[in-house]
Symmetry: D2
Subunit: 268 residues, 4 copies
């Protein structure tokens, strides 16, 4: 009879097999964000009790591409970069909970297993996808971070393209958008192992960065296209009206969240 260790599975005697280490988790990355308005009913239908539509601009949606290098406090993953680098594309809406406005990730695709595991912990509904975004570079044909610079971003899953966007940087901006600017409110759900017994885990949690640094945000003009897929509902968040688009380079630390309530989502 033993004690097993490890922040995540597989737990072992040493803990060193854990798919993810304990927080804090550190991130360096580039973000490409496009914001638009959809039918607010399409947002509402993704918000389980007790979440409600945000009062202001309730149909606002952000689709964000991120190119990350991440690591634990030891930073050792950065020297074996297959364990540090990943890309993601995710969709954020806002909502209201007890009178406060939150951001909420409703769809997200990543390309590594450690990113899936972190998402399980943080309540991000992650799937695997194939994500690409143009990287800025100081030499050659790739764009500088400067007015007129052009970036592309694409998302696919299960061998189908789900979204693609192009961005043309316009000018430095006071903001990197407003949809993904609040604390995140997420559910952590897992069905009971017994059929018909509902959820074994049903938590409403709040989470956000423990620290943040960033370069200037850049406003951009963007073109976004969403594609249908039999296994995805991203295109159900149809584009009614563009809001804005942004590029920003950031450094983030994540170090845990807060349990808000448990067993109340009514999710089926």
């Amino acid at each position: 009879m033993s004690t097993v260790r490890g922040y995540f599975h597989p737990k072992t005697a040493t803990g060193s097999s854990s798919l993810i280490p304990a927080p804090p988790w550190q991130y360096s990355g580039d973000l490409l964000t496009v914001e638009y308005r959809t039918d607010p009913e399409r947002v509402r239908e993704l918000l389980p009790e007790p979440l409600e539509l945000a009062e202001e601009d309730p149909g606002a949606v952000a689709l964000i591409w991120a190119d990350w290098q991440s690591c634990s406090a030891s930073q050792e993953e950065l020297l074996d970069p297959v364990r540090a680098q990943y890309k993601e594309a995710f969709v954020v809406v806002r909502c209201s909970y007890k009178g406060r406005t939150y951001s909420r990730c409703v769809y997200i695709w990543v390309d590594k297993d450690f990113a899936i595991a972190r998402g399980l912990h943080q309540g991000y509904p992650k799937k695997l996808g194939s994500i690409h975004q143009t990287r800025p570079h100081p030499y050659g044909p790739a764009p500088r971070v400067a007015a007129g610079a052009r970036f592309g971003a694409t998302l696919a899953a299960a061998d189908r393209r789900l979204a693609e966007a192009t961005f043309t940087l316009r000018e430095e901006s006071d903001t990197n958008g407003f949809v993904n600017g609040h604390p995140m409110i997420h559910h952590r759900w897992l069905p009971s192992i017994e059929k018909g017994k509902g959820l074994a885990l049903d938590e409403l949690i709040e989470t956000g960065g423990a620290s943040f640094e960033a370069g200037p945000a850049w406003a951009a003009d963007a073109e976004l296209t969403l594609f249908d897929s039999p296994t995805e509902e991203l295109s159900r968040l149809e584009i009614r009206e563009p809001i804005g688009a942004y590029f920003r380079q950031v450094g983030v630390v994540w170090d845990g969240g807060r349990l808000l309530e448990s067993g109340t989502s009514g999710a089926e």
Copy 2:
């Protein structure tokens, strides 16, 4: 305020984005199994309370490669096979719980996200890996299912090879091995979102196939090699003595499990 649906995340109004559908889940697959004895202490250290070493042959380990096609009750995934096909390699030991012998998967690698999600539900500690195994075929150089046929199997993760094996079929066998022959006893663990608060989910569950059909098992002679990796502890289950090796084609249905106890693992 809405109800969201879906067996797994992301939950939506329709439920059709769920990474995995509700059980029953159906599988067709080929299994290559190699069994060996390791130091029983290496098994014991992977068994959290209240699990104990199996009384008989406590150091027995099975390393199993599986080449699967899986689907929900609708079987629609089989017609879009990127959603049905996956491969896995997994390590099973036995243990004792309340006087009964169980099988327990201590390490497992798969190559699709839907397989990771099922593992979360079933308590398999899944990571992504790159898994390959020779397939039988009735024509050309690939092996028939017959005496003398040779199969290879390999496992890699994070760009490192973790295990490789070759199998030579010898004769039909009454058994497909004994290590993976019991009901599975697994933990379902998720850390609390709040730091220092331990586990939010800590369940001991029992699970197994709801139905099973199979062709004859074949006994094989096998060579197995395990490799070290900074992120894995598979090679810590060092090979002391071979037991046996097997090939078998199976059809399986999984349809839920049973909660044994909760909050008792003492895992850190």
Copy 3:
């Protein structure tokens, strides 16, 4: 000053790094074929001098999915199956050369580098793609090789789905189709390293299997859909009329071809 060896690059002192070994090459695989008629002008425009449209049924096209295990004469690759297994989808038309009817592959996608290298040698215009097809299996939900069995097949490249098909087996068939039934006539082209100097290699070659064995062909009913892509012209071979569809398991040996003529294609 040394002699370097190896059937293909990289050539070394031992020859053992070669991306592909010398022929003969042996293959075991499952083929799913769908044949249809397109506008013969769409076929003609893919046939450089001196090739001409086939006299009979000149607009016939075959789109074929293949799930292969391949190896050299030593068969050692089969025991390290990451080096043996690959999938491909390819498009075949017929043409006439010196009064004889040939098959010609006009588009092909594979998922391994050794398959790309073989294609360079054999004149197949290979790109990387993501290819999936349902496999027959004797147990569980996957199809048996029997009337009513359903198979799916999909093709994607550069994160876009290019084609998908479903097949329902109907009955055993005397034929596995007629479009891919002739010797292959291919070009082997490589531009001059010097700009504006045309082609350094411009060969018209004939190739085909050195030996062949197979199970019964099965006729099938099929649904095929082609999708547009900015980098592909598969959908330009638009579907005017279905011809037939087939499933067959085969064993093939390839062992070289024959040079027909050189420097005459007029390709730009």
Copy 4:
């Protein structure tokens, strides 16, 4: 009877399916270089006639990781970055031809098909691999381009790790190394389609960048490890003595090369 177009296969009526467009090809990228001395005989055995060992420091080897974004003159690939981004690791030695010193790539792995195709054209002996290298970033835990910054780089192929290195930047440097600093001298080889007839293409070519811009080179301290593999001979270039290590960001244009001689390599 038609004319087909396209710089590379597949050639079509429009030319738009070509796996690679016509040069010039533009590149933005980050290079991590480690130089060491091996047994000069190991270099000599990789140099076919009429190439000879370089007179000075003939056992010098450079192993280079590169993280590229590349495009044609239209630069359209940069906006669909799955078509622009790739990574590579390659091994360069020097040699002498007609009294002049050249660089020569003896092994190279890339992760995209368009990069394989360019290599065929340029005489790089490309295989597919899995390549990772730490990227510099201005925020968060990833390294800045500055003294003390640490980078990792890894290479794997066929599910086996072949090489890994860590770099610690020391100071700006007048040089980015000397092994990869000459015009490239490469062979373009393709076997005859007819067995026993030798090579159909056997060209010795010279190639190099048409233009080049770069940031400062940084000297680094590096640790390099090479691993054995049954299909690779990288580790045969054993590390006898380190020379130096470097980081540099570059922009490059490639626009064709020059044929030196044909049919003289004596390669088997």
